[in-house]
Symmetry: C2
Subunit: 479 residues, 2 copies
């Protein structure tokens, strides 16, 4: 396949291709070459064409990887983005770690023509192309420099293309096709200690800056830090940690940007705040015990191969400890007031929160990634691409995120990934209520008596456990 | 007993009384009233009088405890002294936690006349009285304000007197009676990162200052911190930690001022430096594992009731962790260059180090507290007053302190307690060699083959294990 400005379409998702053809036909994707052709296609023809091309074998890449420094820039952006500086998610977080796309919403970009990738990113940026869900690509492209766009195009061009990871339960076309305009950020929503709003450059002085990934030390400690980062990033599949995870969650699912992002419980703020007393177990918790709590609740370790969290002395734990310690390098021990610590609180709204209203928000703005059934998306090798939000693969009833207030705050300030701010406070409350009105793995503190567990641990009004029936009509927490 | 200027002598150590009478007789303790009387006493009469008074019952205190703020000042000085500010040890560190004295060198001061205590402290200060070992009392009194002296006198006056704790093996009179003049500190000896020389006020900016004991938080974390401090201070007898200690050492024996003192491995510098890779076990050690190492080696946990160090989740460990964390409050995470971190290194001398020369130093300047047999002194209830330096009660062959270089540096900069600086570098090296040329509990890494353990863990030239015979003619490490 010789380099041209024409994109490779062989092997892309049929649904994605069909959507593009429909968009060309409707003019919502504006292309002078494609529009006249697409406008003559019937729905049936579009379906046939899309299916045909989707089934074609993907050509092997002919492009050479770009120069080392270009590759470094692009690989960093592809994997991690630049959250702290620009609220920019990594490309791979939506297009998959291999760049081959997820479902119909996120097309494969590996093995794609470099000039095509570059042209599209510039088109998103200038607004020439705008048929993306929730303005995601516009938001991302806006934050990329021309040099970075060029680097990313060359980088992905040289990577091997492969079929996309199928999404979970497919969305109804009506939801999928409805463009949702990105709302302007209302900075009044962001409390003093809030995270940097996506898309705005945040003054470096406002939040603690963990050391850059380039500044990782060498030697055995450096290896442990690197390993801790890898475990953090793919907890449920990493060889050292998968046996402790009883669902499909990773540390990084709740602690965005691999534990760096202010306002999503960054590790640098947690590290300096432990040991601490926690009402959760009425004990002084060391940092290690705090991590074990994450495994017990958010990663449902009871259902794991090991049957519980990693021991204090396990390599898994020391790696996570080393990684956390390194992220906190330079932070003041015992500083409980670091801006961006924990999750930002979200003020209650006059309308309260309602799962019914939340269902509509979810369908419009969350299901694209997390699936209509809340089960998220996993790579063929088991890696979590979009985490499950309820059901067996999700956090259990003991995790902090099962509380509507915690989830609402997290969602408001972090979701949708890369375009946080598009949800109003009300939408965040409602969708959090919707998510947490579904059944999930049992609270490990439950000893068989639902009423007792409810009164002991779930008395809060932000907590549906034991107090509301799930969609199947059974009391939440009963299973 | 009505308040007078005359001291209570009933129940004081017979040896102490005899020494004072001899000193009055010789004029080395100058008192116009006592000298004429003492000068007419024979050695036999002095012995008889001393034995008589030592056996008299101690009167109950009649003095009321002083006002609350006075008591607070005095109690703090009595227990902790003011190390960080003035290199001032607590009175109780030599006179015993109950103030009733230890052996013949440190008389009881509880239940003593307030005016007498005050007069003596002023006499040490002005040089009127100077018959103390190594200028210890002069050094201490010099650092006390008149207000503090007054407070301490009232405080000890109101405490119940009791017989002194017997010292270990008694010293020969020739050593005991020989006054050792305090040498001037040679500040050239103190390297840049050294601890504050005792007796000199150190600029607060030079060393990190842990929070004052007054600033301890309340609530469950405060309780844990306080408990951690108590464990640290009396590790081998505290109900929570005694079962993990297989000898007669406490954390505070190596980490002076309860882990606060710069240059004696202060906890505030250690806290921010872990996790870290250690060659000792070729692993990344978390802070908890580092503490477990202290138990394993310095406190010989193998010989304890529990048979090993406290588990990561034990209340003992979380308390020690909480205490360390609190001491480091405000220190920068990952700062490996905190002045005063670890033990100060001591430059090698041209004469090397020699246990033979060290024996004389030990007898003159160490045996007073640690005993001629190195077994230290324990209170009747088991509390360590002066830690053993060799033998079953001491640190084992795996502890850092068994190395001559480590011990030499520790001794040079911290010993004798309250008058560090009186030893030359050469004396510190030699006495460290003497101490560590004695047998002690086995290295827990030993698997039965002395030559192998020696080559694996004791190759250093500063290490006598497996390379030198002890005083009994058997190879060190063989037992």
């Amino acid at each position: 396949m010789a380099p041209t400005a024409y994109p490779r379409i062989a092997g892309l998702s049929a649904d994605y291709l069909a959507k593009q053809l429909r968009d060309f036909r409707a003019g919502t994707r504006n292309n002078p070459l494609m529009r006249p052709m697409a406008s003559r296609l019937s729905d049936a023809e579009i379906a046939a064409i899309s299916t045909y091309y989707a089934a074609l074998p993907i050509p092997a890449p002919v492009a050479e990887p770009p120069a080392r420094d270009v590759t470094k820039t692009a690989a960093e952006l592809a994997r991690w983005g630049d959250w702290s500086g620009r609220g920019l998610p990594g490309c791979g977080q939506c297009h998959g770690p291999d760049g081959n796309g997820i479902g119909s919403g996120f097309p494969g970009i590996s093995g794609q023509q470099a000039s095509y990738i570059e042209a599209q990113l510039q088109a998103w940026k200038t607004g020439v192309r705008a048929n993306d869900p929730m303005g995601l690509m516009k938001a991302v492209a806006d934050r990329l420099t021309d040099v970075e766009i060029h680097a990313l195009a060359a980088y992905y061009n040289a990577r091997p293309g492969a079929p996309p990871t199928p999404a979970g339960k497919t969305l109804s076309p009506s939801v999928k096709d409805e463009p949702v305009p990105a709302r302007q950020l209302d900075s009044g929503d962001v409390p003093h200690h809030g995270p940097p709003p996506a898309g705005r450059t945040v003054s470096a002085a406002r939040y603690f800056e963990p050391p850059s990934r380039d500044a990782m030390p060498g030697g055995p400690l450096g290896n442990a830090i690197l390993q801790g980062q890898a475990i953090f990033d793919s907890t449920n599949t990493h060889p050292l940690s998968s046996k402790y995870v009883g669902n499909r969650q990773t540390c990084g699912n709740c602690h965005l940007d691999a534990g760096r992002r202010p306002g999503s419980a960054p590790l640098w703020a947690a590290w300096v705040a432990y040991p601490a007393y926690r009402t959760k177990d009425d004990e002084i918790n060391t940092y290690i015990e705090r991590i074990q709590g994450c495994f017990r609740y958010s990663m449902n370790a009871q259902a794991s191969v090991h049957g519980g969290p990693p021991a204090a002395h396990s390599e898994t734990m020391t790696s996570l400890v080393a990684y956390s310690y390194w992220l906190a390098k330079g932070a003041l021990t015992g500083d409980l007031r670091m801006p961006g610590r924990g999750y930002v609180r979200l003020k209650e709204t006059s309308r309260g929160f309602d799962p019914g209203r939340g269902a509509a928000v979810y369908a419009a703005k969350c299901a694209l990634c997390h699936g209509e059934d809340g089960a998220g998306v996993a790579h063929a090798d088991g890696r979590t691409l979009f985490p499950p939000l309820w059901g067996a693969g999700s956090y259990n009833w003991g995790a902090g995120m099962h509380r509507v207030d915690t989830a609402a705050a997290f969602i408001k300030h972090n979701m949708p990934l890369g375009v946080s701010g598009v949800l109003s406070d009300q939408e965040a409350w409602d969708v959090a209520a919707f998510v947490n009105s579904h059944e999930r793995p049992q609270d490990p503190r439950h000893r068989g008596d639902l009423a007792l567990t409810t009164s002991e641990f779930h008395a809060s009004k932000f907590d549906y456990y034991g107090k509301r029936k799930g969609p199947d009509g059974r009391m939440l927490g009963e299973r």
